[in-house]
Amino acid sequence: MSEVYVEEVCKQYRDVQALDSITCTFEDGQLTVLVGPSGCGKTTLLRTIAGLIEPSSGAIYIGKRRVDGIPPWERNIAMVFQSYALYPHMTVFKNIAFPLEATRTPKDEIKRRVVETARILQIENLLDRKPRELSGGQMQRVALGRAIVRKPEVFLMDEPLSNLDAKLRVVMRAELKHLQTQLGVTTIYVTHDQAEAMTLADKLIVMNAGRIQQVGRPEELYRNPRNVFVAGFIGSPPMNFIEVQYDPAERALIGPDFQYPLGPRWLDLLRNRPAGTLILGIRPESIQVIASPSPGMVPASVYVMEQLGREILLDVKIGPQTLRAFVPADTRLQMGQEVWLQFQEEALYLFDPETEVSLSWQERQ
């Protein structure tokens, strides 16, 4: 078991910079999730660590050992593929035994370890089947078995759950987390599903367009996103963004249809800033919707209501802008009805429109 360290890794394809100077650490024994939208380079980074892709430049360490330039079969890693990539001509037993046979383990030990692995994953009764006789969930377990059987230094997983149906995915997610904690093997997990990332991760790495956007614990990223991208990516439904004008004279933000007076904390943060455009961010769960007006509130009108059972997800309009907010399930509202929104000041985010960086990021850390 060991830490994985990636240093200034770049990967250039003919016309795409798939990885742009990636530096990050995957701590020993932890489950680190690489998350980001499609095409952001997650798979590329994972395969670079596996040795299936050679980086254009940079260095990769597993433990104390520098591994770039070393072929994958000498890296002592295990990988779970989205397609499972089970060997179709081998039984489940042979599939799980394959990594051990490849590394010349004695026969009786192979048998012992495969059976033990199958027991952990509860697939003992499937050992004689061929992959095509398995369900998706069963194949998933076999793929996991093949990864854990040789006790590698690192697990690499590329969207391992995305071929399962929604229910099974949640079950396997929990099992995977449990298994990983039990085994304590450094794990790098790739997904584009932020909910999956949040529930699984000890540490999250958010990527976009080949660059790391932010690294941290899931709740940290939720609470204190570094930029507009992370703020919009983490959390569901995503954070609302409104373009506003900062007016130092009025000590307020001027919106399309409203004026929001700033408290002392924000005024302090913005004290060196000239008047100009800012991006205001507010999470749906931090908006309070009230049926009658009171001072400092933002007027809006109800546009769409989605009954979720526990609460209602509301789309409201402020001028041309749409915002999403939650109200309790029993709230009586009508389409087009006028409402007032209260933004909790501590849940407010402001971003620079040029750099898209959060203005309160430093302070909140």
């Binding site: 395969r47 596996a50 040795g51 299936l52 072929p71 994958p72 079969w73 000498e74 890296r75 002592n76 890693i77 295990a78 990988m79 593929f81 397609s83 990539a85 089970l86 060997y87 179709p88 001509h89 394959f98 990594p99 046979e101 490849a102 590394t103 093949r146 040789r150 690499l156």
Partner: protein, 289 residues
């Protein structure tokens, strides 16, 4: 109604392929001269077959046909597989070149390929003879096409050249149809190149290999042009195949009865392989409804 679309094709194929088989079979039961018409034909039952089976020449041709089939298919498979793997493994740019190159021997008509090899194997000025003497392996150029053993193997070499690359193309398609993820999984599972090849690539390629071998055998059993063009069956009849005999009986000796008996033997052999082959691949003959 729809049957009208398919009838012309069926008609042609029946007229020029299925019906003639029946005729050939009937010919084979007669003592029949091509110049002599049916008025002078004489029914001889299985006499032609018996005469053919008894002849030394038939046994020679039968043996050579089988030997040729086994040897060429084996070496074509070995070399084709090697070329397919090489093509699959090299950098994409080189792969493009190789794929194009592999098509070339296939595109050359068999009889032309035989002519070409006749020059390479030429007894006095052939390049192979020269290279062998120049490297000091032999003192004078071997008689590639006139020594019985050498002639047999020269024909095999020429055929392997002509067909190995086609095998390579088919096997390459088989290799490419194995999902990349499986190779990658084997790599991270710690399998080295040889282990991966033996335990993953080869078993997954086996169905393709089998079909390719059957397909090639189907053609090797009826081999004609290579012998006819390269040695004309010589020296003596050492490199005569069942097909060259059939052809010679038809058009040189003008004995259609005996020739047809030869043809029927080839047909029987081809049918045996074809049955196995058809059973393996007919699952792919699926069309909507």
């Amino acid at each position: 109604m729809a049957v009208l679309f398919i009838i012309p094709a069926l008609l042609f194929v029946t007229l020029f392929m299925y019906y003639p088989i029946l005729q050939t079979f009937i010919y084979s039961l007669f003592s029949l001269h091509r110049t002599a018409d049916w008025l002078h034909a004489q029914f001889v039952g299985l006499q032609n077959y018996i005469a053919v089976m008894k002849s030394e020449a038939f046994r020679g041709a039968f043996g050579f046909t089988l030997y040729y089939t086994v040897m060429t298919v084996f070496f074509e498979l070995a070399i084709g597989l090697g070329m397919a793997i090489a093509t699959f493994s090299v950098h994409p740019r080189l792969r493009g070149i190789l794929r194009a190159v592999l098509v070339v021997p296939w595109a050359i008509p068999p009889i032309v390929s035989a002519m070409l090899w006749r020059w390479l194997f030429h007894a006095d000025a052939g390049i192979f003879g020269y290279l062998l003497t120049a490297t000091g392996l032999v003192s004078k150029p071997p008689a590639f096409l006139t020594d019985p053993t050498l002639a047999v193997h020269s024909i095999i070499v020429a055929s392997v050249w002509k067909n190995a690359s086609m095998m390579g193309i088919l096997l390459l398609a088989g290799l490419a149809s194995i999902p990349q993820d499986i190779y990658d999984a084997a790599k991270v599972d710690g399998a080295r190149t040889w282990f991966r090849f033996r335990r993953v690539t080869l078993p997954l390629l086996l169905p393709t290999i089998l079909v390719t071998v059957l397909f090639r055998s189907l053609w090797a059993l009826r081999m004609f042009e290579e012998s006819y063009g390269l040695t004309g069956g010589g020296p003596g009849t050492t490199t005569d195949t069942l097909s060259t005999f059939a052809y010679k009986y038809f058009f040189t000796y003008a004995r259609f009865g005996v020739g047809s008996a030869y043809a029927m033997v080839i047909f029987a052999m081809v049918v045996m392989v074809a049955i196995v082959y058809v059973n393996r691949v007919k699952g792919n003959l699926r069309f909507k409804e």
